[in-house]
């Protein structure tokens, strides 16, 4: 035997007699016991142990509170996801893979009308059809539900009206699919057709029959679901701009395009409890909504999350079909399965809002950004979904990473008779971000400065506060910009490439977890809880409600537990599928999972670790401060020979109480302002990213091919660099789809014309550019081992990077997304008409000659670089708030220093006349103010 310290508990001697029989009472715990596949302890991997605790892992961004829990086992190492074997061998069980004995098939009757009142539904012919086991209509489910408690506006099936083509009207369960399909033709529905609204601009106007009615809070008789006004800072700064940009954007709605269609199986078990199998990102919301809709207490429902074949935000609402399956199953007494066709997936939608966005921005003579003025009118479709939040995000998530003199935002979300929009990767931030970043490019052009330098000279530093009151902790924006500039060879290419070839920059800023759990007070119940159990065999079972939707949250949790306990990852078993066994968790949205869940898991693991170390102390006589945990062994730090195997320590710790059980939770710290809507966009940490994209544009056809992307993303600390790179490349793919080819096309009759994966054009691998993922590690003080999100933020910069690159290639600013070839061609035709040329190949390429501002910006950026480094490493702990760049003292309230510094959430009466498109919603009054419903 050689190669280190054996891990098997007990020795060879003493437990067996010479004749091989057991000595009474001397038997050690049965083999294999030690866990892991290697019999001997591996040496400590110092490359993955931070400098601050004696390892060799460099920490340019400073040390971290979790450094002492690092063992060099898993964190920071490229690891395949723990569920990858199941997936690559086809054994992962997705929604439609669930097969229960005696199950029957449910089908949904969908509205053929955009907007109609249901006068009556006669189900007698359906019920008479042999093979039909249950029929349900809206009358079976009068209770409303919705993902946000403030906007519960959905029913399992239409109760009074249908609100879009494809809205649910009734459902039926039958012995097989063909019978169920046949049954759908036997419903007799009497309709009263209502006048539909498709154009969100029309939604701002009064209507005879608003799509929903909000009683005293309803805005006149419009279809406005939510309006937002926010104004911060010194608006006088924008009055005499040195440079400005003004762009009106039209962005088409896009869908998540996940591979797995929605599917659900519901089964009322023999004890009368509902077992519901569904590919959900947020099983807890479904759990709550089921309880409401079915009138059953939550503890009588077990929501089982199957593997999720992609979510991207599109599986985070509680869905009506989940309710339908439960209702049909209750009626029929049989398990009921409903699987969607692709067009049904598009009808339930929840994709990114079709938007009209207007961005005005100004800069002063020092190229400081004196104001952002954003107006976003977003098309919500038939239901509220996450729209309340989206309405805020479209504005507030543009308040960083730049320091602003002032910020003005008006937003409105309107109901239209289309499938409901909702949350999609980069929720609410993507469209405005694109408009803002392109605006910056345009301002840089007017000021004749390099757009990267313009950004570098206007960044908020680490540990600062945005104009809207968000608390920024770690911030790797500067490094991200520097890395992509270097990687792309920007300085050799920008404004120097021939016609048809272009390069562009774009940045991103996104939340890493939402600061406010929607359903409860964060001070009274944690965001995330993790339970941990270690029994005799040494395996660690982790119970979490975090929903792995392919992003690798299960792996992240397994990794951090493995790291803290110094156990191989195969000894960590994550159980996260059932609400019966999972602690309550908010699931996978707003990029919260790794941040919150891994933090909770670290706490739970630290508790186990303490007990193990105390047990080792008992055995070895060395205080835990002098003990090292490494690969299934605990030993005296100056002499590895004095040690005890993990199992032995574990068994010692278990002597009095059996399995070790622990629990860890995560709660976000108190933060943010007090103004209305201050909680929207608040997050315990923010991610930053910067991309450079290179494109080829065919000037004759308008075809764009994105060829190269340098993608830098600050994820705090890459717990698993492989997964982070995957997220960066995947985000890039998704964003490219939105900017180049994907759109939900609503034709002249208001129908969604392309509810299929042939005509809804998601780029294939063939259209993918070469993406160079660059991971930036700014080491977030509150993130697990310093980590922040990497799942959504990386999507943001690709859109503006491509749009800016197209400008660099052909000198034309396009603001109509996606940039399908016809849109580009139209732009080229227009440019030709305005020029002296006939042939597009003669068009001039934009060129740049630096103005006198350029060296000033470079100098300022260099100064800020030093400032930022000191702040990042907390060598400088002075307060910094947005406004310091404009000469304000961070130690005094800005309102006291600047006359006219505003924090307003409603427009002044004199502002009403000049508000943008969405701002017009502020011209209307709520019913209660009109003397209507009180």
């Amino acid at each position: 035997m050689s190669g280190g310290y054996r891990q098997q508990p007990g020795g060879a001697g003493g437990t067996t007699r010479k004749d091989g029989k057991r000595v009474a009472g001397k038997q050690a715990f049965p083999p294999p016991g030690s866990g892991g596949s290697k019999p001997n302890m591996s040496p400590r991997d110092l490359d993955y142990i931070p400098e601050s605790v004696g390892g060799k892992e460099p920490q340019p961004a400073g040390s971290h509170i979790h450094d002492r829990a690092r063992t060099g086992t898993s964190v920071g190492k490229e690891m395949p996801l723990v569920d990858s074997n199941a997936k690559v061998t086809g054994q992962a069980w997705y929604g439609d893979d669930v097969r229960l004995p005696n199950e029957v098939i449910g089908k949904i009757l969908r509205s053929p009308h955009h907007y109609a009142r249901i006068k009556s539904i006669d189900t007698s012919r359906v019920e008479a059809l042999p093979g039909v086991l249950a029929v349900a209509t809206g009358a079976d489910s009068p209770h409303r539900f919705g993902v946000l408690p403030v906007t519960k506006d959905e029913h399992a099936m239409a109760v009074e009206k249908v609100r879009h083509v494809g809205d649910l009207v009734a459902c039926v369960a039958a012995i097989d699919e063909s019978t169920a399909l046949e049954a759908l033709n036997l419903f007799d529905v009497e309709w009263e057709i209502l006048e539909p609204v498709f154009d969100p601009k029309k939604g701002l106007e009064d209507s005879d029959e608003p799509i929903h009615w909000r009683g005293k809070y309803h805005l006149a008789r419009t279809n406005v679901q939510k309006r937002v006004f926010q104004e911060f800072g010194d608006r006088s700064l924008v009055e005499k701009p040195h440079a400005q940009s003004h762009g009106k954007w039209k962005m088409a709605g896009v869908h998540h395009g996940f591979t797995e269609p929605h599917a659900v199986v519901a089964h009322w078990d023999p004890n009368g409890r509902l077992q519901l199998y569904t590919p959900q990102q947020v099983p807890h919301y479904t759990h709550r909504a089921l309880s409401t809709v079915l009138d059953v207490p939550m503890h009588q429902i077990n929501v089982i999350r199957t593997f999720v074949g992609g979510g991207f935000g599109g599986k985070s609402d509680p869905f009506p079909h989940e309710m339908c399956a439960a209702i049909l199953s209750r009626k029929s007494g049989r398990p009921v399965r409903i699987t969607f066709d692709r067009e049904e997936v598009y009808w339930i939608n929840r994709g990114r809002h079709p938007s009209h966005i207007e961005v005005k921005m100004t800069a002063d003579e020092d190229a400081r950004i004196s104001g952002f003025d954003i107006d976003a009118l977003i098309d919500g479709g038939g239901f509220a979904s996450f729209g309340h939040v989206t309405s805020y995000y479209n504005g507030v998530l543009a308040t960083a990473p730049y320091e602003l003199g002032s910020f003005h935002y008006t937003g409105a979300r309107v109901w239209t008779n289309k499938p409901a929009s909702g949350a999609m990767r980069g929720h609410g931030a993507v469209n405005t971000r694109c408009a803002v970043e392109v605006g910056l490019d345009e301002m840089a052009e007017t000021m004749q400065v390099d757009p990267i330098d313009l950004r570098l000279a206007n960044l908020l530093p680490p540990h600062s506060r945005t104009i809207s009151g968000f608390r920024i902790t770690s911030n790797g924006m500067r490094e991200a910009l520097e890395k992509v500039r270097e990687g792309s060879n920007w300085d050799e290419k920008f404004r120097q490439l021939p016609l048809g070839k272009g390069i562009g920059i774009g940045c991103g800023f996104f939340i890493s977890g939402s600061g406010l759990p929607i359903h409860w007070d964060p001070n009274r119940f944690p965001h995330a809880t993790v339970h941990m159990q270690v029994d005799m065999d040494g395996g660690v079972t982790v119970h979490t409600g975090a929903a792995d939707i392919g992003q690798g949250s299960t792996t992240a949790v397994a990794q951090v537990v493995s790291e803290v306990l110094a156990l191989p990852i195969e000894m960590i078993h994550v159980r996260s599928h059932e609400s019966d066994t999972s602690p309550v968790d908010l699931g996978s949205y707003s990029s919260r999972v790794t941040f919150m869940n891994a933090n909770a898991a670290i706490r739970a693991a630290l508790e186990i670790r303490e007990r193990l170390l105390n047990a080792a102390w008992d055995i070895l006589g060395y205080h835990p401060d002098n003990l090292v945990m490494n690969d299934r062994r605990i030993y005296y730090k100056h002499d590895p020979a004095i040690g005890v195997s993990y199992l032995k320590a574990l068994h010692k710790a278990q002597e009095d109480k059996g399995a070790l059980i622990s629990s860890g939770a995560y709660r976000s710290p108190p933060m943010g302002g007090v103004h209305k809507g201050a909680a929207a966009g608040l997050a315990p940490a923010y991610s930053f990213s910067s991309y450079v994209a290179e494109v080829d544009v065919d000037v004759e056809t308008g075809m764009i091919k994105c060829t190269n992307v340098w993608a830098a993303h600050d994820c705090g600390k890459a717990l698993n660099p492989l997964a982070v790179k995957g997220q960066i490349i995947g985000s890039c793919h998704m964003g490219l789809g939105q900017v180049l080819s994907e759109k939900m096309v609503y034709g002249r009759t208001g129908h969604l014309q392309n509810p299929n994966l042939l005509e809804y054009k998601i780029p294939s691998v063939y259209e993918m550019p070469h993406v160079e993922p660059i991971i930036i590690e700014s080491c977030d003080p509150e993130g697990p081992f310093g980590a922040k999100e990497a799942g959504e933020g990386p999507l943001l910069p690709i859109l503006p990077a491509v749009v800016n690159a197209v400008y660099d290639a052909i000198g034309i600013r396009l603001r109509d997304l996606p940039l399908t070839p016809d849109v580009v061609f139209k732009g080229i035709e227009k440019a030709l008409k305005q020029s002296e040329y006939d042939d597009p190949t003669d068009l001039p390429s934009p060129r740049l000659t630096h103005s006198a501002l350029q060296p000033k910006l470079v100098a300022r950026a260099n100064e800020h670089k030093i400032r930022d480094k000191a702040r990042q490493r907390t060598e400088d702990t002075s307060p910094y708030v947005n406004g310091v760049l404009f000469g304000f003292d961070p130690n005094l309230p800005l309102e006291d220093q600047v006359e006219g510094w505003r924090t307003a959430t409603e427009p002044d009466p004199e502002q009403l006349a000049e508000l943008g498109l969405a701002g017009r919603a502020w011209l209307k009054k709520e019913q209660r103010q009109m003397g209507g419903e009180q």
Partner: protein, 325 residues
Amino acid sequence: MLMPPFTLHNPKTVEEACELAGMLLEKGEEFDWVAGGTDLLPNYKWHINPKPHVISLAKIDGTDTLSLHEIGCMARLVDLTTENGIHPLVVEAASKVASSLVRRNATIGGNLCLDTRCFWYNQGEDWRRSIDWCHKADCGTGADCRVIPNQNTLCVATYQGDIAPTLMVLDAEVHLIGPQGLRILPLAEFYQLDGMTKNVLKQGEFLLKITLSKESAKRTGTYQKLRVRDSWDFPEAGVAASWIEGDVSTLQIATTALESIPRCHPEEVAAILEDGWSGMDSVKALALSIRKAIKPVNNTSLPPRYRKSMVRVLTKRAVEKILEK
């Protein structure tokens, strides 16, 4: 999605197939032919005009012949992209059809007889019900066309095959066989307006093979395809051009994906040649006149105005390319 039930017939010989077709016709039973199934079966899954009987050509021997002069209807597109000896222009077009996955099943016969497409038509049943059906799949309602409203006599669904225009400019002939026997005609005469009629195939007839003359083998050409995703999209416009090298008077141009049928453009070419060939100027004039000759409608993913403009670019590129060779 559930395929509607149908009876599948698997004749072993051409004669048996014709006999079967005749028999079904006599009984008044409706049927479809199926080759690779990549066009028909997705439509069936969407319940678009399904028939109670489907006759498969897959088991018939000798229908997958492949040579410079003869291509059997069951020749798979993937083989047209890899086999030696096929005309390079056909290879070029075949390798641009759909995706490699589809090309493994799809056949030349199916590609030439491709059903016309329209985004009011290629939709699921619930969807089509929501627009009260359309002329091409009216489910017995006599519904109007949704592209050109207020009429139900003309269907303007678009033919989006890639290979037809290339075979047209190579003067290919098609062999059609049915209960009434065999007939041979130029591919250029095979297609027939409108989007529902599609071609001259009579009930019970199917396309047996394509032949290319020795003359056509001398031709060289190119196929220009417009689509959003090069990986697998149907053409939004396609232009094929060929000539006998050095002799501009032999120039032929055909277009696809712009109207209900692919079309050869001999008049437009002749008009330009009449004025005397003057290099690039003639190319531009020709491109413009082809653009004027076609009338796309709004039923594919890119708008008709754009597709029309692109015909000019594609024609220009195609002719330039062959002249350069």
